[in-house]
């Protein structure tokens, strides 16, 4: 708490550029530089990299990752965490795919999104009204969503979704893949929500200084529920795109999605201490992750190194932010 105030004061004391404090400016510039460097390096190292089809590939991989981590970003902005996003993605994907192949696409999409929303609402209620730490509430939800998906699927895989539905994952609008359009549409909508509405400003306030937020008479509980509900909803939205892209759904859909999603949020410069960051950064983070994975594949790097490289990138990026922000040794210890 004291730390949050101290940081806010520190940021105010310094000069601002383009409406950004110097350390925020560094986050933005460094990520763009990293993105550019990656593109340049990969273009030199691999002749296949800078082709239209490969770049489309990269953005298509980044899109579902972005959708998943965008919802998570909102939670992280309130200094919380949502460990259930991967499992919720799996559960909603299975429910949606099952109803869609059963012949009712509208109901399927609604049910899939509804399942995600429901999981998110429960998370939000547990965190805000029952006061359960977000880590534990969403960890429990991870098990519950996985369990429900197991019960629902009974070890089945659903194949063969209708072509019209598949458009949202595999289709194009002109030369641009649908997932990319969805990604940028969502990004714009969330950006407006966060920066142009009282609700969005409230989310930053809750993460930056919860006590002040409460004292200001803001409906903190309801906003927290909203944030977790959005996270669940975005996870199920990501599920629809993934299912449409792979043309199949099973319970393993959400496996190994959680850590990349958290990584994208951190790479995007959103602080796990809350109150600082945004969805634009997360989009850049998702792009960087997709580029790195694409590059490692193109260059034929042993897949065993992937986890380590991701871990290293996260450490270096947050380390650099700490140094430039002059926060070394100042920050407190809350997770």
């Amino acid at each position: 708490m004291t730390m949050q105030l101290a940081r806010a004061n520190g940021a105010m004391a310094r000069p601002e550029l383009l409406g950004l404090s110097p350390d925020r400016l560094f986050v933005v510039v460094s990520r763009l530089v990293a993105l550019t460097l990656l593109v340049v390096t990969l273009s030199i190292l691999s002749p296949h990299f800078l082709t239209w089809s490969n770049l489309i590939n990269v953005v298509r991989h980044a899109a579902p990752l972005f959708l998943l981590s965008a919802g998570l970003t909102l939670v992280v902005l309130t200094a919380g965490i949502d460990l259930s996003v991967g499992a919720v993605l799996g559960l909603s994907g299975c429910i949606a795919a099952s109803l869609i192949t059963g012949g009712d696409p509208v109901l399927g999409i609604a049910a899939g999104l509804g399942a995600g929303l429901a999981c998110g609402l429960v998370n939000g209620a547990l965190v805000s009204y029952a006061g359960v730490p977000s880590f534990i509430a969403t960890y429990g939800m991870m098990w519950i969503a996985n369990g429900l998906a197991y019960v629902f699927m009974q070890g089945e895989v659903i194949y063969g979704l209708p072509a019209e539905f598949r458009l949202i994952g595999a289709g194009f609008l002109g030369p641009i893949p649908m997932p990319v359009l969805i990604m940028f549409g969502t990004l714009a909508a969330l950006h407006v929500l966060l920066h142009r509405t009282p609700l969005g400003r409230g989310i930053y306030a809750i993460g930056g200084n919860p006590v002040a937020a409460r004292l200001s008479g803001m409906p903190v509980h309801r906003r927290l529920v909203f944030v977790y509900a959005m996270s669940g909803l975005m996870a199920s939205f990501a599920a629809l795109v993934v299912v449409a892209r792979t043309n199949a759904a099973d319970v393993s859909l959400g496996e190994e999605q959680l850590l990349p999603a958290i990584a994208a949020v951190c790479l995007g410069g959103t602080s796990l201490f809350g109150g600082v960051g945004g969805v634009t950064g997360t989009a850049v983070g998702a792009l960087i992750l997709a580029l790195v994975l694409n590059g490692m594949n193109l260059l034929g790097v042993n897949t065993f190194w992937q986890a380590g490289v991701l871990g290293f990138i996260i450490l270096v990026s947050v380390f650099a932010d700490q140094i430039v922000g002059g926060r070394i040794g100042r920050a407190g210890g809350a997770t």
């Binding site: 359960v132 509430a137 519950i144 197991y150 019960v151 450490l315 380390f319």
Partner: protein
Amino acid sequence: MSATGAHPQLVKRSRALQLLAELPGAAYLLAFMSVMLTLATPEFFSVANLTNVALQVSVLSIVAFGMTLVILTEGIDLSLGPVLGLCGVVMGLLLVGGWPPLLAIGVALVIGAAFGTLNGTLVAYVGMPPFIVTLGAFGIAMSIAMVLTQGNSVTGLPEYVRLFNDGVLLGIPVPIWATAACFALTYVLLYHTKFGRYTFAIGGNRQALILSGSPARFYQVLVYVYAGGLAAIASFIMTARMNAAHPTIGVGLEFDAIAAVILGGTSFEKGRGGIIGTVVGALAVGVLRNGLNLMGVSTEWQVAVVGLVIILAVSLDSLRGLNQ
């Protein structure tokens, strides 16, 4: 280490009612499950099965002891699972290569401590969020373990390794002794040393401690080092249990350990909680999983039930204001 032991023991003290109110939800859960399972299944309340449960929670408990200390400092260590895997793999490779066991365990301890030092330094001195730091270390430890083994199990360990799982001393299997020893060590460190006093104090008062010029940061690093060291010890028990070391064996264990710690009543904030609660939390998880198996609950439902029980137990604590 019997499943019902912790509960009556605590109640016997003075101010019994007060204590009863402060007991973590996991204690009630444990007592309730033990009674129900004893009534519902003939197998549960037998020496064989209770030994079983104790054996099954030994690795989890040892990791959770270290995790308790980290969480008491308002930190978290996601890397403990993969670090356990890496320690086990390196130790396994060295033992297969004919190294003397003490030296191999020594190397594993150094690896665990090294990751602890990395995590602790970045958290305490650089001020990075523990979640991120240890998530980074998670990936790095996992990759190194995978590359060292190419994803395979390390087998062909010397005969004596298995004694550390199968061996029995005074009627009690070795892993349970090891867990008890780790508990005793952690207990003494936490409640009778400067290290322990700092561990409690850092949670909630870190800023004030640093400003007053005390070596809080140094002790914060030590907490992560200790957790890494315990993970190395746990890796030895795990390796003995499988008679093999596997690079991904620990992945996921970190989340289970955190759940056990929080179930045991330790709070993410302000250094509230303790090590005895963690034992109760780990046992509650162990009895729950064992009970679901004995009751023949289908795997699909088990997954959902585990999540539900964790949320219920912690909600109970939160609503009583125990972990605020």
